[in-house]
């Protein structure tokens, strides 16, 4: 049943590629089809791809499918307006739908083999989406994305080889049964980590997150929404499958995922605070939210049988993040659509007189920031609860809880940072006045058509629904996913709005407010005319200190930053103090008499592992070393052979001039060459046999008797011309010679 749906979609793809309008129908049809079959169905295609594919639906898969279909539907509707002025729209729709099919395949897969196949297909089709704009940045980001995807995919593949070799199956259920029977899991951890690499890379987990902040900003907004909302979730799905099916209730594995998740969570949030590009901030935010989800998955492993809260939190955060981030990215799309600019300094104040967009963005902000009554609060509360629960467990058994207290604080701080960077965006785009004067839209008329507005409204409403009715909506979702997660019923219903839970939110909000007002307003906004802004004045020493710390790495301000920050990665220009001064001076002239503060991207350059470590290693060191080795191998034998052939083909020199003659000579020469090599070899063999091998008389076939000097007889024509072996030699050589002559004749005739 599901297979039919998928085939149907694949069948539709080619038609839709040429026709933009048809794709709407496809997506609608598809969404409808998915909604129908969310309940447990199994589809096996035994013969496909050798090992056979297996699909399932229902439970967690059902939820993911519905989300994916929903996101696709919304973004496709939105693309209609967004892509009006774009080239290559057919290509975009074609690959978007291919990606849709592949994503569905990943979410519905019931064994790792199927997951992997669709995962790889998805990587490649989405690559085209990333590169769609074809700008230098997009190509750069696209290649990074592709490289990460390929390396990750291949390492995952290797992990699966081993897993398949040891377990004999890749089916989720059989694997979990198999793993339950394995006492010593050491080697399986290695396999598991290998498999994790690919999925983690796609999810954006540290340290393979590098593609994410590059790829999302450069892709068209609907594509970034898809990338961020759904594609990262395919990675999460892989990690989930690993954690809940293979390493089920495994504390070590949980710890690993938890560590990765914590780092990713904090890193993403910090990066986002530093970013001054609207979509880059959102992308880093995705990174951070993925970290939250990974923390949930990790906790689930650690909590073992008590993991219902953690698993509920994980799945709910997946759902929430998808919906919220889609809303935000589409808002960003609306901005970009009108301004063709994402730099916060350039787009400042654009949204001041656009209440609808403002409210929707605010909705997204509140949702992702974890404010009570909005969607994100519920899932973050659950995740927080799970950490608290684990700390309680540890205390109960008298284990030290320092580490987990730290994780809890990291969790809260990340939550606070989330709020801070979102506020930064909101204030910049929708509240502040633009000091450079009013920003003009490129398009005349309304900034958004009705369809796009409707899409945004639907998304925003959903966020509220999730937040306002946690028990009705969220509990059911969590319940549906429970089967896949192997988690039991929760011991008690969670009171989302209890004082204890609200406390976490309040702490986060407080941290967020602090970060926003102190750090963002204070350090990350720099005045282009010294002392003109309150924020800078209030903490001048601090600002200077910061600058001194980052001194050689700091980046700069001012009109030039607009251009530079378009490339989020390249935005950080290494300048020393003098240069800052010079540029500032120039900037003063450029915008004389305007006194403004601008957002700066202060993320230090040396922390960019992608540039400093990955790229050089991949592009420079490996090829140089490898190329050197390969070249040596390549040439070593060739030189020897040249010497040999110069010797063997002396005959060539006899003839000269016509090609045909050369060929003839060669043919003759080659026959001679065989004879030559062979006779040398024969003599060598005779000696070898004679001296080193204790050669005895052989009875061959029971018919013929070979004498002790049989070797001589078989190989030398001169002594025993009538011997069998000699005749064999002769006949072959003669035959070759004949062929040569005939060929040469044919050549001459032509």
């Amino acid at each position: 049943m599901l297979g039919a749906v998928i085939c149907y979609i694949i069948g539709r793809k080619n038609k839709t590629a040429r026709n933009c309008t048809a794709c709407f129908i496809t997506v609608l049809e598809f969404a409808a089809a998915v909604f129908i079959c969310t309940e447990g169905a199994v589809f096996r295609a035994e013969s496909l791809f050798g090992l056979g594919l297996e699909f399932r639906s229902g439970g967690l898969r059902g939820i993911l499918i519905v989300i994916a279909a929903f996101v696709w539907l919304m973004t496709t509707l939105f693309s209609n307006e967004y892509f009006k002025s774009y080239r290559n729209r057919n290509r975009y729709y074609f690959f978007m739908l291919l990606t849709l099919g592949a994503t569905m395949g990943v979410f519905m897969s019931a064994d790792f083999y199927t997951t992997l196949i669709f995962f790889e297909i998805m990587s490649f089709t989405s690559w085209v989406l990333v590169m769609h704009d074809e700008t230098a940045d997009a190509v750069y980001a696209g290649m990074t994305y592709l490289t990460v995807a390929i390396i990750g995919g291949l390492i995952t593949l290797v992990g699966m080889f081993f897993l398949y070799h040891s377990a004999g199956t890749l089916n989720f259920e059989e694997l979990s049964r198999f793993m339950a029977s394995v006492p010593d899991r050491k080697e399986y951890y290695i396999y598991g980590i290998m498999v994790l690499v690919g999925f983690g890379a796609k999810a954006g987990a540290f340290p393979l997150h590098i593609w994410l902040p590059q790829a999302h900003p450069v892709a068209p907004a609907p594509a970034s929404a898809i990338l961020s909302c759904v594609l990262t979730k395919t990675g999460i799905f892989g990690v989930l499958a690993l954690s809940t099916q293979v390493f089920f209730y495994d504390a070590n594995w949980g710890m690993l995922i938890l560590a990765i998740g914590t780092i990713t969570m904090l890193l993403g949030a910090v990066l986002a605070v530093f970013s001054i590009n609207l979509k880059r901030t959102l992308a880093c935010s995705s990174l951070s939210q993925i970290g939250f989800i990974l923390v949930g998955i990790g906790m689930q492993g650690l909590l073992g049988e008590h993991n219902s809260i953690a698993s509920g939190g994980t799945i709910l955060h997946i759902v929430n993040h998808s919906v919220i981030k889609m809303t935000l990215f589409l808002c960003a799309g609306a901005v970009y659509m009108n301004l063709h600019e994402l730099n916060l300094n350039k787009i400042r104040g654009w949204g001041r007189d656009k209440p609808l967009l403002k409210v929707i963005f605010l909705w997204g902000l509140l949702g992702i920031g974890g404010i009570p009554l909005w969607g994100g609060y519920i899932s973050k509360t659950l995740l927080h609860e799970s950490i608290v629960e684990y700390i309680a467990h540890l205390t109960q058994y008298g284990h030290p809880t320092v580490l987990f207290n730290m994780i809890e604080w990291v969790f809260l701080i990340s939550g606070g940072l989330t709020l801070a960077y979102m506020t930064k965006l909101f204030v910049a785009v929708f509240v502040e006045k633009n000091p450079y004067g009013e920003v003009k839209s490129h398009n005349a008329g309304p900034y958004m058509d009705n369809l796009s507005a409707a899409v945004l409204i639907v998304c925003a409403v959903l966020i509220s629904v999730f937040g306002l009715m946690p028990h009705a909506v969220m509990d059911n979702i969590a319940y549906a996913a429970r089967g896949f997660m192997n988690s039991p019923q929760p011991e008690h219903a969670v009171h989302y709005f209890a004082a204890v839970n609200l406390k976490g939110a309040v702490i986060s909000v407080a941290i967020g407010a602090f970060v926003y007002f102190v750090i963002i307003r204070g350090f990350l906004m720099v005045s282009d005319e010294a002392g003109s802004r309150v924020y800078i004045d209030a903490w001048p020493e601090w600002a200077n200190l910061e600058k001194r710390v980052y001194r050689p790495l700091i980046l700069n301000v001012l009109p030039s930053i607009g251009k530079k920050a378009a490339s989020a990665m390249n935005a950080t220009v290494q300048v020393d103090r003098e240069r800052i001064g010079r540029i500032t001076d120039r900037g003063k002239k450029a915008v004389s008499a305007v006194d403004v503060s601008v957002y700066v991207d202060e993320w230090p350059k040396w922390l960019n592992i992608e540039k400093i470590v990955y790229r050089p290693v991949l592009l420079k060191i490996l090829p140089v070393l490898g190329g050197w080795a390969a070249a040596v191998m390549n040439l070593s034998f060739e030189e020897v052979f040249k010497l040999l052939s110069r010797f063997a083909f002396r005959a060539v020199e006899i003839f000269s001039g016509l090609i045909e003659n050369i060929l003839l000579a060669l043919l003759v020469g080659s026959v001679i060459a065989i004879r030559f090599f062979k006779s040398i070899f024969d003599y060598a063999m005779q000696l070898v046999l004679y001296f080193f091998f204790n050669y005895e008389d052989i009875s061959y076939d029971g018919k013929r008797q070979f004498r002790k000097d049989a070797y001589f007889s078989r190989f030398s024509v001169d002594k025993h011309g009538e011997e069998q072996g000699a005749r064999e030699n002769l006949s072959i050589s003669l035959m070759l010679f004949g062929v040569g002559v005939v060929l040469a004749l044919i050549y001459l005739i032509i």
Binding site: S47, E120, F124, T135, L157, F641, N694, Y700, R714, I749
Partner: protein, 489 residues
């Protein structure tokens, strides 16, 4: 008597070949060549689905005879050889228009097909060796077709390497005559367990020599150097079949020698297996690395062939049924994909004259279909589903883990497989990226549609569809290969 029908596909094209110079009119020649190839392919497919046949044509002396038979391996090789030959011929109809001496090209083109089928159908070493030498001689004119200085030099190099390699193979034959019961290809090997006692070490040296000798045609280190020289100078259809098919005949010779003459038991787990595995693995790495560094498109593809064919050899030398199955899958997948790549390169050269990879910026906008085929074939070489390359690599790697050759070499092999896949992505997908995403500053006004005509497009599209088909529905092939593997293990 019915078995004599086996001779038809071998000698039919060879007999037809000499008449090519008589066909001076281009139209007539095209029709006749395609007709011959079609009849040939039809006959081969008919035979492939028929019963086992065996025919002895000529007994030279006691031990030596020219004998043909079609077993499982013959069927596979003959089928894909004839099918790809047919497609490449369609392509060359258009391509050869900008070359001279078209009659001569088709003469040798047809003759080599017959010879290749002869190799596939060969039932004993003598027959195989005979046609193996013929193969070299018939394909040399394809390489030096352009008659430029480079082409002739490359042709000579090709000839030298091939003859030397075949000579090494021949030496082993003499020993097989002594130590074997027969030289007929027999699943499981022909060595006489009584006579080889005490000479195993020596025989393994002989085996190593044969592997290096036949490895020459398959582009295995150390005799690989002819490949990157010969392929770029040959006309595109010729380099396509050289790379896709001729190298596979080297593989066939290696399979025949390993599994049908020496036998798995004699080789597996011994030092000689480690040596040849190491050779294959280092060739995989070397080929990919050199391809990554190479800027000339066809030469890059030639290096890629060196690497990819060694995947096959890696599978063959692992000596497990699973890996053997993977090797044969790789034979088929690579033959199809590499032909698609070379033909795409040919189409680009034919239409634009560009031969260097950095000239291909934006070519995807001019020739979208050609480059789409190029992309699909590239994905197969990298090993991305749903293409054939993925399936073959899956089998190779899972087979490697079961190998009797310890754990170290197979694991290194898998690592190299992965590194090589990465390099393959590096040298092929960058071309694709440049072709389709030339960048914002690309001058769209200079663009013109340069899509070649149907003669070129149809084979390309069929080949790339074939790549995907092998990837999507490999079950039939896998069953077939497994049954062959079942015989020889």
């Amino acid at each position: 008597m019915g078995d004599y029908v086996l001779l038809f596909p071998v000698f039919f094209p060879i007999l037809c070949a000499p008449f090519m110079p008589l066909l001076k009119k281009q139209r007539i020649r095209e029709v006749i060549v395609l007709l011959i190839l079609f009849v040939e392919a039809a006959a081969i497919f008919y035979l492939a689905f028929g019963v086992d046949r065996k025919v002895e044509v000529w007994r030279i002396s006691g031990l030596l005879s020219i004998t043909f038979a079609n077993d499982g391996l013959s069927r596979i090789f003959s089928c894909f050889i004839s099918a790809i030959w047919f497609l490449a011929a369609i392509f060359s109809m258009e391509y050869m228009k900008h070359e001279n001496n078209i009659e001569r090209f088709f003469l040798f083109y047809l003759a080599s097909l017959g010879v290749l089928i002869g190799i596939s159908y060969a039932a004993n070493f003598m027959t195989m060796y005979l046609f193996y030498e013929f193969m070299t001689l018939m394909t040399v004119p394809l390489v030096l077709h352009a008659e430029t200085h480079d082409a002739i030099a490359a042709g000579l190099k090709y000839l030298g390497y091939s003859i030397f390699g075949a000579g090494l193979g021949l030496i082993g034959f003499f020993f097989l005559c002594i130590y074997g019961n027969t030289t007929e290809f027999t699943a499981g090997g022909v060595l006489n367990p009584l006579t080889i006692v005490g000479h195993e070490g020596f025989l393994r040296v002989v085996y190593l020599g044969m592997m290096i000798g036949f490895g020459c045609k398959a582009g295995m280190y150390p005799l690989h150097a002819w490949l990157p020289t010969a392929h770029p100078v040959a006309p595109a259809p010729a380099s396509a079949v050289l790379s896709g098919i001729i190298t596979k005949c080297g593989v066939l010779a290696i399979i025949r020698t390993t599994y049908y003459l020496f036998g798995v038991d004699f080789i597996s787990g011994t030092w000689v297996q480690y040596v040849i595995l190491a050779l294959a693995i280092s060739t995989i790495f070397m080929g990919s690395m050199l391809a990554y560094k190479e800027k000339l498109l066809k030469k890059r593809l030639a290096y890629s062939t060196i690497s990819q064919v060694s995947y096959v050899l890696f599978g063959v030398f692992l000596m497990t049924p699973q890996a053997f199955c993977g090797a044969l899958l790789q034979v088929v997948a690579h033959a199809i994909a590499k032909n698609a790549l070379f033909l795409s390169a040919g189409a680009v050269i034919y239409k634009t004259g560009h031969t260097y990879v950095n000239e291909l910026k934006g070519i995807g906008k001019q020739m979208p279909i050609v480059m789409a085929c190029f992309t699909i074939a590239s994905l197969s070489l990298v090993g991305i589903p749903p293409t054939g390359g993925f399936i073959s690599k899956w089998h190779l790697a899972t087979g490697a883990l079961e190998s009797p050759a310890g754990l170290v070499l197979p694991v290194i092999g898998i690592a190299v497989l992965i590194i090589s896949a990465l390099l393959t992505a590096g040298y092929l997908l960058t071309i694709v990226a440049d072709a389709y995403f030339p960048g914002k500053d690309f001058d769209y006004s200079k663009l013109e549609k340069k899509e070649p005509n149907a003669f070129m497009l149809v084979p390309l599209v069929i080949l790339s569809a074939g790549v995907v088909a092998v990837g999507m529905f490999p079950s039939g092939l896998i069953e077939l290969f497994s049954s062959i593997a079942g015989d020889i293990f």
